[in-house]
Symmetry: C2
Subunit: 186 residues, 2 copies
DNA sequence: TAAAACATACCGTCTGGACGGTTTCTTGTC
DNA sequence: GACAAGAAACCGTCCAGACGGTATGTTTTA
């Protein structure tokens, strides 16, 4: 019998740890490596412990999705709050959040989101709803073709980062960001 | 013993069929559903038969990757041949191939490529090489930030299609294509 | 002391793949 | 053109391990 049983209980911390480990695993070793055994072990919890927090695997992935989109929503809302110009506001927030250097810790997690998204058909539906919601919430200010083009470009860069494709260096990255922000104001 | 054993042998056709089935399965039911059993059964071949053409699962995925990138290369080369303007030629080909309506059959397969790419860390390396090759082959003509922006936008749209996110309608799609082509000539 | 938060043990299923056999194709020889 | 003989193209079975999940315990917390 291990000592883990006897340690102090921090259910919320354990839950968070499980989500983080799942994200890390998916990012580093591919989504196929996200197994209940691997996740629980890497999180220092037994499989039974994991299954206590998430009754099945799907709910674990759902938890991951909810966690990540919550952070994303928060970051977007914050950026939008600081932007006085209505036109293209959401698009600029989208750009900024992606390019922000300090958010790279979260950035990696969003890569995970993409991986999980593509792998699990069930999560695609959730993502569709997320996009639909933000699209309809910002219709009028961010529906222009130019705005969509900008957001698509961000997604493309995101994907390139995710796949580890050779992208642009830091200097050009900043220039790219300026370019995109400029287009969003057209 | 079934009759399948006695049928005419068409190794090349069977091989192709296996690749197509694998692609279809991955697209429709997620990459996790691409099992040797599922693929071989859907292709009307025994698992042994499948393993004859592809000695292991990885080589099946590799075959899929090679098949798809070959088609992509061909389509790109064809488009580039018809383009007299050197500047941004590759980028325009990239745009055209993605937006071509008749290529939608292949388009779906490229979606599969993306799925497989993201799921299998091993294939990411191959993709990195593909991108690197084309980037270096077209350095000078397609290295401008504007050109990269265009290609990233295409990738973003591609991803949106892949995820089934709500995108733009056909009319706006054409307008978007024109926009992207215009930027490639700046 | 009841419930929450874990741990341990175990099970049924699926999966990749090894293996040995069978049938068809191809090639060289006469 | 007949025919042996090896190579190529399959088939069907079996297995070890991994995986998701259940059932049941034990400890901590409220």
């Amino acid at each position: 019998m291990s000592q883990a049983h006897h340690r102090k209980k921090h259910p919320e911390a354990v839950r968070q740890q499980l989500l983080e480990v799942a994200a890390k695993l998916s990012l580093e070793k591919g989504p196929a490596s996200v197994t209940l055994d691997a996740v629980s072990q890497a999180a220092g919890v037994s499989k039974g412990g994991l299954l206590h927090h998430f009754p099945n695997k799907l709910s674990l992935l759902d938890g991951l999705f909810a966690d990540l989109t919550d952070r994303l929503d928060q970051a977007l809302a914050e950026k939008m709050r600081d932007d006085p110009e209505p036109k293209g506001r959401f698009t600029r927030a989208y750009v900024s959040v992606f390019f922000q250097p300090e958010g790279m810790a979260d950035g990696e997690k969003w890569q995970v989101l993409t991986i999980a998204l593509i792998s699990e058909p069930h999560l695609r539906e959730r993502w569709r709803h997320w996009v639909e919601r933000h699209l309809s919430e910002n219709v009028g200010t961010d529906s222009a073709l130019d705005a969509m083009l900008v957001r698509y470009a961000v997604d493309g860069l995101w994907l390139a980062d995710l796949l580890g494709s050779p992208t642009i260096d830091a200097a050009n990255r900043a220039a790219m960001m300026d370019k995109l922000l400029a287009i969003s104001r057209l």
